[in-house]
Amino acid sequence: MPEISITIQHKAGLHLRPAAMFVRTACRFVTNILVRNDTRGGDYKNAKSTLSVMQLGVNQGHSITVRADGPDAEAALEAIRHLTDSNFEDTGADMPA
């Protein structure tokens, strides 16, 4: 199953706006996408559920693994990689985190 590991750089971790963007990105693809917080450990959760992603408790500096197993898995992982590489397109301190 294709997977990628990412370290979350956003100062708010994977909460609120970054979590929302993460889930909305995942939902653009048909593939099942799972995500795990490697820093805390624990189970893989559904990356398309806002609550599941928030429950991972991903803070700044935590590593996550994202897995996808459907027909557009590679594209989905690339989109998620792009989102996190761009630091959730964070352009200003005035955006809610």
Partner: protein, 131 residues
């Protein structure tokens, strides 16, 4: 897309929760605020809730999020004034207002059905935010 109505005793809270949820979910979200008796008076208004229900209404239904007490009673009173067909696609949610609105907004924006949007919003009450 499921619509969302925010009912609060405070017009500022209702408007602020709407603003925050919209920021999370994008501009296409159907969300309406029903706060206060009028723009300056704390309380809840059946008329304002009905107006917000019309504003947020759509083919996929509407989730109503409330703060406490008479917000619940006013929302129930507003629902009772609608016909059965309209009532069938409304859910009055037990979710916490702010956290529930954020989760509901994101779940609605990705096209989840009304029951699922409500379930996710209600479950956010169990989220440990101190992590």
């Amino acid at each position: 897309m499921v619509g969302i109505v925010i009912v609060s005793h405070s017009p500022l809270i209702a408007a602020g929760v709407k603003q925050l949820a919209s920021e999370m979910a994008g501009e296409q979200l159907r969300i309406a605020a029903a706060g206060g008796v009028d723009d300056h008076t704390i309380g809840t208004s059946v008329e304002r809730i009905l107006e917000a229900l019309r504003e947020a209404d759509g083919p996929d239904g509407v989730l109503i999020l409330v703060d406490l007490g008479s917000a619940v009673l006013s929302a129930q009173a507003a629902i009772e004034l609608l016909n059965e067909q309209q009532q069938a696609h409304l859910i009055l949610s037990n979710a916490p207002l702010v956290e529930g609105a954020i989760v509901a907004a994101v779940e609605a924006s990705i096209g989840r059905p009304l029951m699922e949007v409500n379930r996710a919003a209600e479950q956010v009450a169990t989220l440990n935010k101190l992590g």
